[in-house]
């Protein structure tokens, strides 16, 4: 565990800005990340998320980690080429000879 930070947002003292009442917290933000990626956020919630990202380097890091996770998953696609089974091919060929 790290020591508790003095401010939720890196590099800013708490007095530098007043957190508006309706700001999302980091804990709320991490639950909105997928909807944000999917373009499913609108209106006030979307602005809250975007405003949060401007202020919070940690949540930017979190977003980058989610993006890296998604990109890494893309690398798991199997390139093993599976062949249709003999019986399936036989059924297909039977169609060609008009026997299906």
């Amino acid at each position: 565990m790290h020591d508790l930070p003095h401010s939720p947002h890196n590099g800013h003292a708490a007095s530098e800005f007043d957190v508006p009442q309706d700001e999302v917290t980091c804990q709320q933000f991490v639950e909105l990340v997928t909807e944000y990626f999917e373009g499913a956020l609108h209106g006030r919630t979307l602005s809250q998320v975007e405003e949060h990202l401007v202020m919070c380097d940690w949540c930017v890091t979190y977003v980058e980690q989610m993006q890296a996770t998604i990109a890494s998953l893309g690398g798991l696609q199997e390139d093993r080429r599976v062949e249709p089974s003999g019986p399936v091919l036989a059924a297909l060929r039977a169609r060609r000879s008009g026997g299906a």
């Binding site: 565990m1 790290h2 508790l4 930070p5 003095h6 401010s7 939720p8 947002h9 708490a14 917290t25 980091c26 804990q27 709320q28 991490v30 639950e31 990340v33 997928t34 909807e35 990626f37 999917e38 499913a40 919070c56 940690w58 949540c59 890091t61 979190y62 980058e64 980690q65 989610m66 993006q67 890296a68 996770t69 998604i70 990109a71 890494s72 998953l73 893309g74 690398g75 798991l76 696609q77 199997e78 080429r81 599976v82 249709p84 089974s85 019986p87 399936v88 091919l89 059924a91 297909l92 060929r93 039977a94 169609r95 060609r96 000879s97 299906a100």
Partner: protein
């Protein structure tokens, strides 16, 4: 924004009518192409109903047997992929009746509190200065860019994906591994956009946490 994976519609490359005509005529080139394109997706869907990869592979072959012999019954009232996947689902369910019960998709409850994306201990509490903000923030990973994960991390991710609950594994597999769009996944699985997102979110969040444990063990 995350990189958008290339669209990979299970039957893409050919229009439905073209594919249907080719299958009816026994065109092996088109058949092999559609078979190869849809294989991984079909296997992922089948795998949610049955307990092993091997049985899922059997189901895909059985499904293709049913498609090839039954293609004359396809009337074009739905997309070809929808028809193919309904056959797949029926095949899988009949195996499943002998194996175990799958929880229907309609049971997805979008309650983040049940399964938070990040361990709540990582955030400040009401007694702290900034409740709900990071107490133990994430730290940047050392360049875990696309395909730059070490083999070991890749294996770790693969194992973690395999261990996700069935429906999360399926959605993450179809979206992030196979590269299907949200629309394709919802249509194939007859799933609402919202439920699709909930499952995707839970799955991705859990996998991120597992990668973090691996890439930044001191922090978690």
């Amino acid at each position: 924004m995350p990189p958008e994976p290339a669209a990979a519609s299970p039957t893409a490359a050919f229009a439905d009518e073209q594919t249907v005509a080719a299958l009816r005529a026994g065109d092996e080139r088109v058949f092999r192409e559609v078979f190869a394109r849809s294989y991984a997706t079909m296997k992922r869907v089948a795998r949610t109903y049955v307990a092993s990869e091997a049985v899922a592979e059997e189901i895909v072959q059985e499904t293709w047997m049913a498609i090839v012999t039954g293609i004359d019954r396809f009337e074009g009232r739905s997309a070809l992929a929808t028809w193919m996947f309904s056959i797949l689902t029926n095949q899988a369910k009949s195996h499943n009746a002998r194996e175990r019960r799958a929880v229907p998709f309609s049971c997805v409850a979008p309650r983040a509190a049940d399964e938070p994306a990040v361990n709540p201990d990582r955030f400040q509490t009401d007694d702290d200065a900034w409740p709900g903000h990071w107490a133990t923030p994430p730290r940047p990973w050392q360049k875990p860019d696309r395909r730059l994960l070490s083999l070991e991390a890749r294996d770790r991710l693969k194992a973690a994906l395999a261990e996700l609950p069935d429906r999360q594994r399926l959605i993450v597999g179809l979206r992030d591994v196979e590269g299907h769009s949200a629309e394709e996944v919802c249509e194939l699985l007859d799933l609402s956009q919202e439920n699709q997102r909930v499952l995707l979110h839970r799955g991705r969040s859990r996998l991120r946490a597992i990668l973090e444990e691996y890439l930044d063990p001191a922090d978690v």
